[in-house]
């Protein structure tokens, strides 16, 4: 087993373990911390696939910014470990059974699949490098790139519309309570 393979198995086990702990942790903050472990492991996978840029972006955006956002949401909604509703035991069993069935189907489908014949083209293994990514992004994928800016814009407008009104409510509430 070479280094790559060893790392692959290590990262995979880490990712799956982290993912299971995300779901099973009682405290939502712990879930978020485990989710960071999952993201780090997946970033490792990206590096193994020679997609260094994607790995770093995954760390910066997901493990960095989005996780902070998650934490803010917990603070905002005051999600304590105590307030988390207890789920029905039968619901849990049903979830495990359906999820397991889906996994079984996926494994069976993958086992029968002949992926080598028509695998996604990997080229020389340098498509994930930032230079090639830039060339592809700004030549072939120009329209999606520009559309994504409109997407960001609309997301920003939506956020401000919904968030700002709540803040106005907050300030009036605050002025009543604390006199300004």
């Amino acid at each position: 087993m070479g280094t790559t393979q060893l790392l692959f198995w290590f990262l995979s086990i880490l990712a799956i373990l982290g993912a299971i702990l995300v779901v099973t942790s009682k405290n939502p903050v712990h879930s978020v911390l485990w989710l960071i472990v999952v993201f780090v492991a997946i970033s490792g996978h990206y590096i193994l696939l020679d997609a260094q840029f994607l790995a770093i972006v995954n760390l910066i955006v997901y493990a960095g910014a989005i996780m902070v956002l998650f934490l803010f949401v917990f603070m905002l909604m005051n999600l304590n470990a105590d307030t988390e509703p207890q789920k029905n035991r039968w619901l849990k069993i049903a979830g495990v059974v359906t999820g397991g069935a889906l996994l079984l189907v996926l494994v069976a489908a993958l086992k029968k699949a002949d992926l080598k014949a028509q695998m996604a083209e990997m080229g020389k293994g340098d498509i994930g490098l930032i230079h090639n990514l830039g060339l592809v992004l700004f030549k072939d994928y120009v329209v999606p790139f520009e559309i994504s800016s409109v997407l960001f814009l609309s997301a920003m407008v939506g956020v401000v519309v919904i968030g700002k009104k709540a803040e106005e409510d907050k300030t009036t509430l605050g002025s009543q309570k604390y006199g300004g």
Binding site: V105, L106, A108, A109, L110, K112, A113, D114, L115, Q118, M119, A120, E121, D140, Y141, V142, V143, P144, I147, S148, V150, L151, L153, S154, A155, V157, G158, V159, V161, I162, K165
Partner: protein, 470 residues
């Protein structure tokens, strides 16, 4: 070179242009009058609609990312028409709203998303278009800023659409792994119906099913429809659903054609489930918005029945039905919107004796509901008729029989509303309501559409001549 890009892209560019114009006004102007802006936007939307009717060459741009043709332009025109009607209907509500400009900015962003989605020739592009339409729609469904129910609707909508997007993305990535391409032209060549490809396809199908609220994935529909502002509900149930159906049928008939034998059976099952569940739940609703939500689930089932025909008639009948569905559903939602805005009453019991004071609204509602139910003189009958004919083209007579039976069940709850309006009475009926000019125009458009589209045979013939053959 520029006209080669501008002409095929004109509808997208126009919508984006209006969006940015509003943004400039918002950022630049220190003061503006909402009423003036609303009228300006409606005129611009009309211009946008007219712009779509100019001839457009078939084009494939940006390495196959974007493609357009007469059928796609027609679909965009239908969406434009629907958006214009929604906009006219929403005038009354928006006039009093502090953030009317934002409403249009978000609405037009979703429309741009739908346009790019319908025109996409690549799964990545398709996904971006879908997200561009979903995210602003979420903000829109939370647009009744003072109502808790509206926020609840927004939250439910974002969670369910994030879930469906995740399924869709998983399906797309598996499909990419299985076929090695994201392009709509390259994928069908490499589809061979292996178990792995079918698994990827089912994930994609589930993502689609969420968006068009097909039965196992419909649970978000009623709550979101009830909580959102009525104009947004109308938009969701008609434009959003129509756009996703357009790309859905296009994907099934072109990209996934090699899997036709498989998806045909799946769709028949989903269609039966959708029609039955939608109908059975609609029977027990008292809130009119919820009733229309479940009725729209049922209509999705009927559209699926048309798609299973997998023939040229199937494509034509679906597009034709969506055109009619826009008129009928918007007519019904328009009346609900007007009454809800002026009196705040939304239950069927509140509509008892509506005819006495508001004959015009009552007739608009009645004609729309007749059309939704599919009663002969209205266009809805022809729409359903063509759908079922297309579905019967494959010889599934049992299935078509079940669909026809469902039409009869649906008749019951539509007629219940009509009975409440025309025959029942109550101690405090809704008084005489003022109908402003713009909603009046919208009602006129809807009623004319319902009465005329069915009778004029050339509409269907024209759509048929453009449809995708099988």
């Amino acid at each position: 070179m520029w006209t080669g890009i501008m002409v095929p892209l004109r509808q997208e560019l126009m919508v984006t242009l209006i969006l940015f114009l509003l943004l400039f006004i918002k950022v630049g102007a220190s003061e503006y009058r909402t009423g003036t802006i609303l009228r300006l936007v409606n005129i611009l939307l009309l211009a946008n609609l007219v712009l779509g009717f100019f001839p457009c060459p078939d084009a494939t741009l940006f390495n196959g990312m974007f493609h357009t043709g007469r059928l796609i332009v027609l679909e965009k025109n239908i969406l434009n028409l629907g958006t214009l009607i929604v906009s006219l209907l929403a005038y009354d509500w928006l006039k009093e709203h502090r953030q009317a400009l934002e409403f249009y900015m978000l609405l037009l962003a979703t429309l741009t998303g739908f346009f790019f989605m319908i025109s996409s020739g690549n799964l990545l592009m398709f996904y971006l278009g879908l997200e561009l339409s979903t995210i602003p729609l979420t903000a829109l469904s939370g647009f009744d800023l003072e109502k808790k129910q509206s926020s609840e609707a927004a939250l439910k909508f974002i969670i369910s659409s994030a879930f469906s997007s995740a399924l869709l993305l998983f399906g797309i990535s598996l499909l990419y792994g299985a076929t090695g391409s994201l392009g709509f032209d390259a994928i069908p060549r490499r589809l061979d119906g292996s178990a792995f490809q079918l698994f990827a396809f089912i994930l994609l199908l589930s993502g689609f099913a969420f968006k068009i609220s097909v039965v196992p994935f419909h649970l978000w529909t009623a709550d979101v429809y009830e909580g959102s502002p009525v104009a947004v509900t109308a938009y969701l149930s008609v434009i959003s659903k129509g756009a996703v159906f357009f790309i859905f049928i296009q994907a099934l008939y072109t990209v996934f054609r090699p899997l036709a034998g498989n998806w045909n059976r799946m769709l028949i099952l989903l269609s039966v489930l959708t029609m039955l569940t939608g109908n059975l739940f609609a029977l027990r609703q008292n809130n009119l918005k919820r009733l229309l939500a479940f009725s729209s689930i049922t209509q999705s089932g009927f559209i699926l029945a048309g798609i299973t025909g997998s023939s040229r008639a199937g494509d034509a009948s679906v597009i034709y039905f969506i055109l009619i569905y826009i008129f009928s559903n918007l007519g019904a939602f328009g009346v609900v919107s007007l009454i809800s805005a002026q009196t705040g009453r939304e239950n069927i019991d509140d509509y008892k004796g509506l005819y006495a004071a508001n004959p015009l609204l009552s007739w608009v509602m009645a004609i729309s509901l007749f059309s939704l139910a599919g009663i002969p003189p209205t266009a809805g009958f022809f729409g359903k008729f063509f759908l079922l004919m297309a579905g019967a083209g494959r010889g599934n007579y049992v299935f078509i029989g079940i669909a026809a039976l469902n039409m009869v069940i649906a008749l019951y709850y539509y007629l219940r509303v009509i009975k409440a309006i025309f025959m029942d009475s109550q101690p405090q009926p809704i008084g005489k309501l003022k109908i402003p000019l713009l909603p009046n125009i919208a009602f006129g458009l809807c009623v004319a559409g319902i009465l005329v589209t069915g009778v004029m045979g050339w509409v269907y013939d024209y759509i048929y001549s453009l449809s995708i053959g099988f």
